[in-house]
Symmetry: C2
Subunit: 407 residues, 2 copies
């Protein structure tokens, strides 16, 4: 597997576009299209929030029931959440218009929205935006980048990634674009992440991979503890690579799954790192936990702790907040067995051992906490399972961004 330039248009047979549609903001790209020249097998994971946005409700149905998918249309600025029947009608109208323009079935069009909860979409602008998207769409690398740019809200930079690998003699490519920044919290937590691949893969295999992989990638990040109404992670596989169809639990399935995981992990980390107001990425690795679920709970609890996040922002090696966050994670463990350290390029910087803090050089600790990423390791000494979670620091800018988001 190797990393290659580009995003969703890196795999064969995919086109994309990002255009200015004036949905909420002026002078910025705010509508995106991902289009496949061939029918795609689709799988997805969506928010666990009981209040699901209209496009999420529709996409869940399409991914489950439609024979294939051909396109994803995304708008930013307005979430189309808590919009009742009007919101669902906006989705249907968007899909119907996009289908007509693209010459594909209406039920092969998925929709993603992100932005303010409440307002109804300005459908005339959406329709004008769709026309622009369809004429702009192209397989060029730049078109994928335009789409990555158009799906951003408070993100500070577009997030795309692509890898390729060999499967059954064919070169298979996987590409992704994602946006995150705020209202980001484990439990299908990424606001929007779209992955394309030219792999030929069965629906069963793709669905199984998606279901398992989100647990260790998008569901292991948090920016602020708020699980969005619009979270959507969608994978489209169009088979253009002409590899033998990947079936569950085969060596090819494992290889493809590993590559998909690399893409998802990369994007999840990028979302955490670019969280609202963030100045640094916080990674927490839990090792030797009693169970996989415990390891995940413990790691997520640390990177979700406001006090730990604020301490990292202040470059204060206040490990008491880390052990405290492990303690209220819901996982069972013996505090007397735990060791905590910073991982500085593979070297241990120990903070706490077997129930007690240890003396350490505060200046050195401050240096470690001044880096752009901070790696915390919690060794539970209680089993052999591990998990990693990613978050970011809590800063003045987070409060600033969210104290006045709507205006």
């Amino acid at each position: 597997m190797k990393i290659i330039p580009g995003g969703v248009t890196a795999p064969k047979g995919f086109e994309a576009a990002g255009v200015e549609a004036g949905i909420k903001y002026e002078n910025r790209k705010d509508m995106a299209l991902i289009y496949s020249q061939r029918p795609c097998v689709a799988a997805g994971a969506f928010t666990s929030n009981k209040v699901k946005a209209a496009p999420v409700l529709r996409d869940m149905r399409i991914v489950e029931e439609s024979p294939y998918v051909r396109a994803v249309v995304v708008n930013t600025g307005i979430a189309n959440a808590a919009t009742g029947k009007d919101g669902l009608k906006c989705c249907d109208d968007t899909a119907s218009e996009a289908a007509a323009l693209l010459g594909v079935p209406e039920d092969s069009v998925l929709i993603g929205s992100t932005g303010v909860i409440g307002p109804v979409l300005p459908m005339e602008r959406i329709k004008a935006g769709l026309k622009k998207l369809v004429s702009a769409k192209a397989a060029a690398k730049g078109s994928g980048f335009d789409a990555a740019t158009a799906i951003m809200t408070t993100d500070t930079h577009p997030k795309e990634f692509a890898v390729e690998l060999e499967i059954g003699g064919a070169t298979v490519t996987i590409g992704a674009i994602s946006k995150g920044s705020g209202m980001i919290h484990p439990d299908m937590c990424t606001m929007l992440s779209f992955v394309t691949t030219d792999a030929a893969i069965s629906k069963e295999a793709l669905t199984k991979l998606v279901k398992n992989d989100v647990k260790d990638t998008y569901n292991m990040i948090s920016v602020d503890g708020d699980t969005s109404t619009n979270d959507s992670f969608i994978v489209l596989a169009n088979g253009a690579a002409a590899n033998p169809v990947i079936l569950p639990d085969t060596p090819e399935y494992e290889a493809f799954g590993k590559a998909l995981h690399a893409v998802n992990e990369h994007q999840a980390k990028a979302l955490a790192e670019d969280g609202e107001g963030a100045t640094k990425l916080i990674e927490c690795k839990v090792v030797n936990a009693a169970s996989k679920e415990d390891a995940r709970l413990l790691a997520r609890s640390v990177i979700s702790s406001n006090l730990t996040k604020a301490a990292v922002f202040g470059r204060d090696a206040n490990w008491g907040r880390i052990i405290c966050a492990l303690g209220y994670s819901g996982a069972g463990f013996d505090p007397g067995k735990v060791c905590l350290y910073f991982d500085r390029d593979g070297e241990k910087f120990t903070l706490y051992e077997y129930g007690r803090g240890v003396d350490f050089d505060e200046d050195e600790a401050k240096k470690i906490l001044s880096a752009s990423s901070v790696r915390i390791v919690a060794d539970m000494n209680d089993g052999c399972e591990s998990a990693v979670a990613w978050g970011c620091d809590l800063t003045y800018d987070y409060v600033k961004i969210n104290g006045d988001y709507r205006s």
Copy 2:
């Protein structure tokens, strides 16, 4: 029942003191004593954090096993958490010294600590502080206030409260002192709250009251989502009012329980209102929920939401974040049935009805959000249970306080 001046020394037979012991800070009171002239029935609730501070581990045992309690000794500045065997020995030494000075059994002395996790207590200063406390202790109102002052960490003001009521012809008094501010989150969430009463009450009755009442008071507040290692809520009842002993499930039990609830609710709200960096109290009342547990989950989720807290700070009536927080609370409900409004002195200011936002006057909403307390009501239209939770806004000062707490 009527509110009276004072705190823990308002009930008959209780003395208190607060002195400067130099535990961590200079020139401020940082050790407190509550002393009862008579043996007390005691009940308590403690942190659910798996990492429990040494004094919590000791107090849980004393409250459960000791025949009676005579005193509580509190220090601030150092939490005595994650301090291993040395921490437990500090507790034993403190209790033994206090017991000798007060002439009471060692197992009748409870200990509370709050402050930084990790460091070991400076026992010479603790012992010197104990001597000062024992000579300063008095039944005066001012002594209770001194104790309320001495238990503060980042609190901006002392929190004491007292009520009296008639039971079986006797006047019964209940008094309280509490401290909160940071690391405050539902699940036995107050850092420290001590209630004294001169009521005669059976251990069974007091234990039952405490267990039930924390669910709707201290466990319904949140400042930052971090459940402390040191949370302790302790009630001491010394019987000096000479009322007939209160037994479970009697009219007297109900009356006393109602008064105790009023004290706990008052103190819980005071803790939320004075949360770290807070500029206002946020109250969320959930009505017509399907179950009591759902109502509590929903209300707590709203007041714990960082995005809602930041929006209230910014006086932005961004109700989408409220409905979103209800949605990820874990409680089941139909978003199409929900109504959201602000309660402005009993008058409804509607934001969202039956799955949709409604048009409202943004300037009026800003006015409502400019008050020192904001009351959000969520009508689930799904049953007849209700619950109230209290929190505070998320501000620049929260980040400032917690970006550099140790130094």
